[in-house]
Symmetry: C2
Subunit: 192 residues, 2 copies
């Protein structure tokens, strides 16, 4: 998605350790119009694939998730991190996720009410690197006995193994910007 790549080059910041900050337009301040174009591109790429729910994880996946769900005409479910007192243990699917950015573990949880065996679930997230969050969401879909329709990613770090692992599992992964390398502050994209 050319406009997205251009914005990453123009407005993204590369920090030491390969961290890419896109808070100017994607995940702290969100350019709502660009987010809606991203949703439209997910719908275009997964055209013809059955989708009954969109699933993401709080917080930065929610904006893209709800816009994608709206265009598919289906509900958005977002997995929660660190369940609060509003929740009851046995009523939740749960998966452990390791955050490499923050070097912490957290649990993602989804109420059992919101994914059923008949569902075809499109997983959407802002970043894919080692794939920990996506694998956690896939694990939740599997616990529900539902099907994964695919994984839609805004920015994939294609030099990290997460995307290839998912594709090797037979999952259709559509990433709208695939970064093949970062050299200093210079970002190179893989061909789509």
């Amino acid at each position: 998605m050319e406009e997205l790549k251009q914005r990453i080059v123009e407005q993204g910041q590369v920090l030491p350790g390969g961290v890419i900050k896109v808070g100017d337009f994607l995940n702290h301040m969100i350019d709502a119009k660009l987010a809606d174009k991203i949703a439209a591109e997910f719908v275009r790429r997964f055209d013809g694939v059955p989708v009954t729910k969109v699933l993401t994880v709080e917080a930065s996946g929610i904006a893209f998730g709800v816009l994608t769900a709206l265009r598919f005409g289906v509900p958005l479910v977002f997995a929660k991190k660190n369940r609060g007192t509003n929740s009851a243990g046995d009523d939740y699917y749960q998966a452990q996720v390791h955050s490499y950015t923050k070097n912490t573990d957290y649990a993602v949880t989804v109420s059992k009410k919101y994914i059923c065996p008949e569902d075809h679930v499109l997983i959407v997230d802002d970043f894919l690197a080692l794939g920990a969050a996506a694998q956690g969401l896939m694990h939740i879909v599997a616990q529900a006995g539902a099907q994964v329709s695919g994984v839609g990613i805004v920015i994939e770090k294609a030099y990290e193994p997460g995307g290839e692992r998912l594709r090797a599992q037979g999952v259709r992964v559509e990433s709208l910007a695939r970064i093949s390398s970062i050299d200093g502050e210079s970002i190179t994209f893989a061909d789509e």
Copy 2:
């Protein structure tokens, strides 16, 4: 907003302590079409009011926030809870918030880059009860030297003092469903 009130009555659950669970359609699984109607209603109610940014707090405000921002043609900024290692301390506006639901304190933070003195900020959130989150966001807007255009709330517990406090401060608060009382499992709405 009649459709919203009807959904609260039909699909909301009242738990002991006055907790209202609306995870079936508003803040765990989200009916994207209803969320978009909520955004349209915010735009209608704040018609003619200058809005240059929409501000919410992660996680459950983001869906309504991005849809509202898209309709206003402005960016969404979402305040983060518990800053991660991606952030730098001095570059953030910060306010302390007490969560009565979870009985914890947390900090909401917004990068100083994303709100400037020229901004007219519409604050959007899913719930208003004691108003702690909204006051925290107002405090952040004040630190930036920007103006609060108003506060748009999906569900206000009108029997709690948060809404009246904001209105007494001269803030325009638009709540799409105002609950005047909860008696057992029965929910009564205030007139709009």
